[in-house]
């Protein structure tokens, strides 16, 4: 494989300065099935933390017979260490709006909403100006599609698509029982496509360059490239677009500070990859979560403090609805503290491990289900640091 330096990818942020929504205009000349098939051929998967095939999602929504449908851009980016969506919205918003409009065109939705997290409220004015320009173009293209901005109230769990919809309906952002999924019954019970900011931008890119070109990058299971938010003990913090399928080792070689102990991939709800597994772990959908956050920890860092911080985060941000998550997150946090203090024996860690696994199988949404990811990966790879 070529070294990283030779494969600098730049699909998301390039070719923008003269954007007059040409890609959108072109796409509107194609039959919707054509576009959906292209996205499926390109193997585009959601760029949030879930990774559901985008083409399939749009297909399901298209199939539903309903006079009203919605397209929602999930800009609730709240996963620890993730900031790519903010940058996309700042630098290339028209790609996102195009992606949304193409989705509306394909599925029959006439209304789009950008669910913007409250912490990004400073972007609202800029985005509104972009929307004014967007609507002018839309009128010229004769597409019945309008986008508005909805400001979130501030909560991590609002990033879960059904919780997001609840929030938009003026309720607590608590995940719904599924099925039915939002594509069947979403906002106000109507078919709704919820996709991440980067997903819409990448959909636009695929419409621009074609599936074949996109497939030249990545692996069979993880085609293409994506943005990574890199922070922590790194010499190059920031947003970097990398080819999927790259090994962590290659990433660490370029971005690490020569002292990298572990990398947390996918934020607090992701996996912690220790040094010994760098070479054999690839970034992609083959088992890791790919919100795209990568936090580097060097040898001066305490993995106990890292795990402790993640558990504190979950215990606070859990919506509190379901038993395993509401209580389980608290118990995991108190548990590792007690073992550290010596109030509980090292064997108690097995109890906590079983708890985390049971949370994975029985929690109501991805938040509770993902706590086991960092817990078990940090525990198994840094046992001494957690216990003593």
């Amino acid at each position: 494989m070529d070294t990283l330096n030779q494969k600098r990818i730049d699909l998301i942020f390039s070719n923008y300065t003269t954007s007059r929504y040409q890609v959108l205009e072109r796409s509107l000349q194609r039959p919707p099935e054509d576009i959906i098939n292209e996205l499926m051929d390109a193997g585009l998967k959601g760029r949030g933390n879930v990774g559901f095939p985008t083409g399939m999602k749009w297909k399901f929504a298209k199939r539903e017979e309903s006079a009203e449908k919605y397209v929602i851009c999930n800009a609730n980016e709240s996963e620890t260490g993730t900031f790519k969506d903010r940058e996309i919205l700042e630098r290339v918003p028209r790609k996102v709006l195009s992606g949304m409009a193409i989705c509306g065109y394909c599925t029959g939705a006439k209304k789009g909403i950008i669910y913007l997290r409250y912490e990004y409220a400073y972007l609202k004015e800029q985005l509104q100006n972009e929307l004014n320009i967007f609507h002018e173009h839309i009128k010229k293209f004769n597409l019945d599609f309008a986008i508005e901005i909805f400001l979130g109230g501030g909560s991590y769990v609002s990033g879960e698509e059904s919780a997001l919809i609840e929030s938009m309906e003026g309720k607590r952002a608590e995940p719904r029982n599924k099925p039915p999924y939002p594509v069947i019954s979403g906002l106000y019970g109507l078919p709704t496509v919820v996709n991440n900011v980067e997903t819409f931008a990448t959909a636009q890119v695929i419409c621009a360059i074609g599936a074949e070109e996109f497939l030249k990058l990545g692996t069979v299971y993880s085609p293409g490239s994506k943005l990574f938010s890199i922070s922590g003990d790194t010499i190059k913090p920031g947003i970097h677009e990398l080819e999927l399928g790259t090994t962590i080792e290659e990433v660490v070689n370029e971005f690490g500070d020569k002292n990298t102990k572990s990398v947390q991939v996918g934020g607090a709800s992701g996996f912690c990859i220790p040094h010994r597994l760098f070479a054999e772990t690839v970034i992609g959908y083959e088992g890791l979560t790919t919100g795209g956050s990568m936090i580097f920890f060097n040898n001066t860092r305490s993995m106990y403090k890292v795990l402790h911080e993640y558990l504190r985060f979950f215990a606070e941000e859990s919506c509190g609805l379901c038993t395993p998550c509401r209580i389980g997150t608290q118990q995991l946090l108190l548990g590792i503290e007690a073992i550290k203090r010596g109030d509980r024996p090292a064997g108690y860690m097995d109890v906590l491990k079983k708890l985390a696994l049971n949370m994975k199988t029985s929690a109501k949404c991805g938040l509770g289900q993902s706590v086991a990811n960092p817990f078990i990966s940090i525990l198994e790879n840094f046992k001494e640091e957690i216990l003593y």
Partner: protein, 585 residues
């Protein structure tokens, strides 16, 4: 109506259910038990507690049986290792968030968390105790309901009951994560928020997080006080339901055995509540007739519809939500207060007792009744203690009484008779039927047409029931009613009470008489009735009351011979003003 059948297997047992059914429905059909906690047959599905998780082939994670619709060919396993470990973990987690002082707890022996824990024999504190010290102090500021956050399992049944079923909205879930809990507006104590004390939450709470405020210890104290003469009255709704918790089915001997049980408990006198319900019906009827006469004489003023006020939760509802209709409410005291008031006056007089030495205990299905206190003209409380069916059960259990084995006994002879109409007052629509029976005879002067003894529209399951009456023959002085439509409404549940009020705002003159009971199904569904509760159980209780009415020798309130005695001897002899205070506010 979707008639498609879906075929699936649960633990390898095939079952077919209608499309749209949940896995839980399918399991019920084949008597396969899946434990639940946040699920309740009267309420919308939540899917929060995760106790009912099951394994479905092809799905990675476990799913909740209560909220997942069946699909063709679904393969469900309810007892795999994965399911059992998840369920056990969930119960252990719930216990870590619970103040498990079972031996002191009001719901010991009838607590759903206790039952779940005992299934897995969980007792050791596996996890850290999460109950905060301040939560162990329950909110006892309300006269009727106690809220104990340390026992809450966050099933949100109370929130769903109060908001969806009763449309009151006292409770809400607040905060998130580890701070999430069930609370009120700005966490204020119950006495400072809008709550109608209907207690529907207490009869649906799976634990002791919400209970009525028990007063039975005070009743025990009164019974032990040799200087006090304690008089008790239980209502029919109490007697037909009490067997649900004491383990017997109500039959024709139950009433008299319950009288015996009450005497064994130590009560000096057991009176027939039906006697007071009959007085209430007669007074209600005459007050209504007077109102109709006034309305006829002065059409400009709106004094109709005439609305009942015997449901204390309804009175609380009106006071906050729609005080403008307060002038329309009946001024007659509720049957409970009539009982208390007559015991302290008429009964005291007849028995040569000092009213100050009499304690009146009213057993009803009602939690709000604890808040219903008035004072008769002597400045003494009418009813000293209002206790619920559940509290009486506790007293009977504490005494080790087996009701089935007792010999039949009779009521206090002074107040021992009742009509079938009095029994009906505790079913929604029943007070209206009772009033119609007396009204018809008083207005027409003729004997009631037997067909009028069963007014089916008032026995339906609707929230607002209606019927219309017309009199072709009327007595002198009531000519204005001849051939006129008199429209009656019977409302149950506070959600329908709100709808009714909205109807009134649009067209106040539509109804002449309205009966409003704030509890689901009327008093038989009261907040103080045995737990568990369901629409089916309420229907069964109603059935018994209807049949008790049918077999009763006299079905009209005014036929009660003892009433004539009290009216002749006492109620019409005292000064009108005093009479007013005994029976009216």
């Amino acid at each position: 109506m979707e008639k498609t059948l879906i075929n699936l297997t649960i633990n390898n047992i095939p079952v077919s259910v209608q499309k749209g059914s949940t896995i839980l429905d399918a399991a019920h059909k084949i008597n396969m038990h899946i434990p639940t906690l946040c699920y309740h047959p009267d309420l919308k599905v939540a899917g929060n507690c995760r106790v009912c998780v099951v394994e479905v082939a092809g799905t990675k994670e476990l799913i909740t049986a209560c909220s997942t619709a069946v699909t063709e060919g679904m393969i469900v396993t309810t007892n795999s290792y994965k399911v059992r470990t998840a369920r056990k973990t969930i119960v252990e987690l719930l216990l870590s968030e619970h103040n498990a002082d079972c031996t002191k707890c009001y719901r010991n022996g009838n607590c759903e968390l206790q039952w779940l824990a005992s299934e897995y024999r969980i007792g050791d504190h596996v996890y850290h105790d999460l109950v905060k010290e301040e939560e162990k102090q329950p909110d006892s500021t309300s006269l009727c309901i106690i809220k104990d956050d340390s026992k809450c399992v966050r099933c949100q049944r109370c929130v769903r009951t109060c908001s969806d079923l009763q449309d009151v909205g006292t409770f809400s879930v607040i905060n998130k994560g580890k701070k999430q809990k069930v609370s009120t507006f700005y966490g204020k104590p119950l006495k400072d928020v809008f709550c109608i004390d209907c207690g529907q939450c207490t009869s649906r709470c799976p634990t002791a997080a919400l209970t009525e405020k028990p007063l039975y210890e005070e009743v025990w104290d009164a019974l032990a006080d040799t200087g006090k003469h304690v008089v008790i009255a239980t209502t029919p709704a109490v007697r037909v339901a009490i067997g649900e918790e004491l383990g017997f089915e109500y039959n024709k001997h139950s009433d008299s055995k319950i009288i015996a049980a009450l005497r064994l408990l130590g009560f000096d006198s057991v009176v027939d509540s039906g006697y007071f319900h009959d007085i209430y019906i007669v007074e209600l009827c005459t007050e209504f007739m007077l109102k109709m006469k006034q309305d006829n004489e002065n059409a400009a003023k709106t004094i109709l519809p005439y609305i009942t006020s015997c449901s204390p939760g309804w009175v609380e509802f009106v006071s906050t939500k729609c005080p403008e209709i307060k002038p329309l409410l009946s001024q007659c005291k509720s049957p409970r207060l009539i009982f208390g008031s007559l015991i302290k006056t008429y009964y005291a007089d007849k028995k040569a007792l000092n009213p100050k030495d009499i304690i009146t205990v009213s057993v009803t299905p009602c939690t709000a009744a604890k808040n219903e206190s008035t004072q008769s003209m002597t400045g003494i409380a009418d009813v000293d203690f209002s206790i619920t069916t559940r509290e009486l059960v506790r007293m009977i259990r504490q005494s080790g009484i087996d009701i089935q084995r007792l010999d039949a006994e009779d009521y206090e002879p002074l107040m021992c008779e009742h009509s079938g109409a009095s029994v009906l007052t505790e079913v929604s629509g029943g007070t209206t039927e009772a009033v119609i029976r007396t009204l018809s005879e008083l207005v027409t002067g003729n004997e009631l047409d037997p067909k009028m003894l069963k007014i089916m529209p008032l026995r339906s399951e609707h929230g607002i029931k209606e019927t219309v009456l017309t009199f072709s023959e009327v007595r002198t002085g009531w000519e204005f009613l001849k051939d006129q439509e008199i429209r009656f409404a019977a409302v149950n549940g506070s959600r329908h009470a709100m709808d009714f009020f909205k109807q009134l705002k649009e067209n106040q003159k539509h109804y002449h008489f309205a009966e409003v009971m704030i509890c689901q199904g009327g008093c038989i569904g009261g907040g103080g009735q045995p737990i568990p509760v369901s629409a089916e159980l309420i229907k069964a209780r109603a059935s018994i009351l209807y049949s008790l009415d049918e077999i009763c020798g006299q079905q009209k309130a005014h036929e009660n011979a003892r009433l004539n005695a009290i009216y002749r001897e006492f109620l019409t002899k005292t000064e009108l003003k005093e009479n007013q205070k005994i029976l009216y506010y």
